[in-house]
């Protein structure tokens, strides 16, 4: 039964661009859904399984995106996959430094330090010359094995592939020794340590896997959008969106991040494109030129962060285990 469901989901995901291939807007939203699902799953390996909440995952995403685009603007003939690999290396170094400072400590320090590291990365990129500073980086042209990278389909499949890899690692971790160790650390650090689990080593391992996957997604995003600046790829807001996606779906579950992304990304898109305002106008409830109509049109684009805030609060108060938590049997 489970296998059939999985095959159906996989077949739908692979075939989707054939049906909506004519509509670049829809495929763009699907790419965002896949990316957020993968980002959130990667975060979940560290936050969900090991219980170490990172509030600065944008640092790894931005590192991937910036490394790739900086290298390609320096030398256009480089293989994008090589640039992606360099991004992973830089992200891993940042992760190792963070981990080695913080994972010796217990308590709330990792969350705080992850923000501090992310801010150091963001402000450095903003203030340095070779990163393009506040203007960001624009990449004019890129090629890989003759694939047309101006179309969206390659990125759809790229994101899908990374999502599948991330979910496979999640699945593997759930039933492997490392995964059991991580869950033991999450449930009770003292008990885990007393059984001989090297806390710092396994936390660092989870952080490295999570950071590397996040960096790959950053590289893909950079190649897809071809224009990045710090507010797009290094902002605290992005880190929070990644966590929120996991929380809404269900932290520590394999499919939670996917469910969260399927709900949140289209919702944000609806708010951004002022769909709600359009619906109200079409229904004749508000006039387009009236005060409310103009207010909605001008402000709803910004309101999606406000809605994220409201959803976070409601979710923590009423649905702390996420949507998948509702369906889980009590053990």
């Amino acid at each position: 039964m489970k296998k059939i469901a999985l095959s159906v989901i996989a077949a739908t995901a692979v075939a989707l661009p054939i049906f909506i291939g004519e509509n670049p807007y829809l495929i763009g939203i699907m790419i965002s859904v896949l990316m957020m699902a993968a980002l959130s799953s990667a975060w979940n390996i560290l936050g969900g399984y090991a219980g170490q909440y990172s509030f600065g995952h944008a640092a790894y995403f931005g590192t991937g995106a910036y490394s790739t685009l900086i290298l390609l603007t320096l030398n256009n003939s480089l293989n994008p996959l090589f640039c992606m690999a360099m991004g992973i290396i830089v992200a891993s170094i940042i992760a190792l430094i963070t981990g080695s400072i913080v994972f010796r400590l217990r308590g709330h320090y990792f969350g705080l330090a992850s923000i501090a590291v992310a801010e150091i990365v963001r402000l450095s990129v903003l203030n340095l010359e070779f990163t393009g500073g506040a203007q960001g980086i624009l990449l004019s042209d890129v090629s890989l094995w003759g694939i047309d990278l101006n179309s969206k389909n390659p990125f759809y499949y790229g994101m899908l592939l990374v999502l599948v890899v991330t979910l496979s690692i999640s699945q593997y971790l759930r039933t492997s020794k490392t995964g059991y160790y991580l869950q033991a650390i999450r449930e009770d650090q003292d008990a885990a340590a007393s059984l001989g689990i090297n806390l710092a080593f396994y936390k660092n391992k989870a952080l490295l896997i999570s950071a590397a996957l996040t960096s790959i997604l950053g590289s893909l995003y950079g190649l897809y959008i071809r224009f990045i600046d710090t507010s797009a790829v290094l902002d605290l807001r992005l880190s929070i969106e990644i966590i929120l996606t996991a929380i809404i779906g269900g932290v520590g579950t394999m499919w939670g991040p996917v469910v969260g992304a399927l709900l949140l990304v289209p919702l944000a898109e609806m708010l951004r494109s002022n769909l709600l305002g359009d619906v109200l106008v079409k229904a004749g409830l508000v006039s387009e030129t009236s005060g409310i109509g103009v207010f909605l049109k001008e402000n709803l684009a910004h309101a999606h962060v406000l809605v994220y805030g409201i959803i976070t609060v409601l979710c923590i108060l009423y649905l702390p285990k996420g949507i998948l938590g509702l369906f889980r049997r009590v053990k």
């Binding site: 501090a116 962060v305 805030g309 108060l317 702390p320």
Partner: protein
């Protein structure tokens, strides 16, 4: 330039940071919650001072008389309505709840007040107090520092002498034992959060005449407040006071001798250095980490 100039300006700004840090530290000590909405509460204080000045024509420093009780009540209500319900939840959920509340505050402010930064200009905004040796101290910062000193003295007396203050300290030391001694710990949490909010709003109002007032201003103050708390030792109110001054001086020194753009980076590097070398903070108890 004289070495004393950035040192003294840093101490003045640091005093206001200390106020914000102490608010966060008190909440952390009594409730064991990292309040990620603290910066946004400061931002609300900035706007309160701004509107008291532009709409009611009250001097920003005089308006504290209104801002402090309003902010206390606001914080008290927020604790009762939201924070109180997650007090026994995992720490991550508490952080996420305060992040959510902070997002609601900052983005409501963004919708209500737009993203145009506001400037609060008083008659004395740009006047300076000249000391011998070519050192000049900004008058608004000097007044802010004096008010900060008075506020800290009142807070100290309240925590040290009053019955409520003692109950707050007892709750901070050991929540269960305090409850067994008949202290209403739920009420203490609400009071602590109210005081924390009032301190944040006061700090916001005090720097309003010297900063750009912006809905997203809270973000950078939040991280500063955290650095101050970790530097002073999480939960130590005295430590936060000293931590605030240190951060103010470090910022002023790095602006003067290096670059304004990098001053926040230096503060965060300092934060990581504290975690690396002295994780219990300057005044924290050893083993607390």
């Amino acid at each position: 330039m004289s070495f004393l100039q950035p040192l003294l300006s840093g101490i003045l700004t640091g005093g206001v940071y200390a106020l914000a840090g102490m608010g966060m530290s008190l909440v952390f000590g009594v409730m064991n919650i990292s309040n990620f909405a603290h910066g946004d509460l400061m931002m609300l204080g900035m706007y309160m001072a701004f509107f008291a000045f532009t709409l009611l024509h009250i001097d920003p420093y005089v308006s504290l008389v209104l801002i402090i009780p309003t902010a206390f009540l606001f914080g008290f209500m927020v604790e009762k309505l939201f924070i109180n319900r997650v007090i026994h939840h995992p720490h991550q959920n508490q952080i996420l709840l305060t992040i959510g509340l902070g997002l609601i505050m900052s983005n409501t402010a963004l919708l209500a007040f737009t993203s145009d930064p506001k400037i609060l200009t008083t008659t004395y905004s740009s006047s300076a107090f000249n000391l011998p040796g070519g050192i000049s101290l900004s008058v608004p910062l000097l007044i802010s520092f004096l008010i900060t000193g008075v506020t800290i003295a009142i807070l100290y007396l309240f925590l040290a002498k009053s019955r409520t203050g003692m109950a707050l300290r007892a709750t901070s030391q050991n929540r269960e034992a305090a409850q067994l001694m008949g202290i209403n710990v739920a009420k203490m949490s609400a009071i602590a959060f109210g005081i924390g909010t009032a301190l944040a709003a006061t700090a916001g109002a005090l720097i309003a005449p010297t900063y750009y007032i912006h809905p997203l201003a809270g973000h950078s103050f939040l991280l500063k407040a955290f650095t101050i708390c970790v530097l002073g030792g999480l939960g130590s109110v005295v430590g936060a006071g000293v931590g605030g001054i240190i951060i103010g001086v470090v910022e002023a020194m790095s602006s003067t001798y290096w670059s304004t753009d990098w001053k926040d980076v230096i503060v965060f590097v300092l934060f990581l250095a504290v975690l690396l070398f002295r994780p219990q903070g300057l005044f924290g108890k050893k083993g607390g980490e």
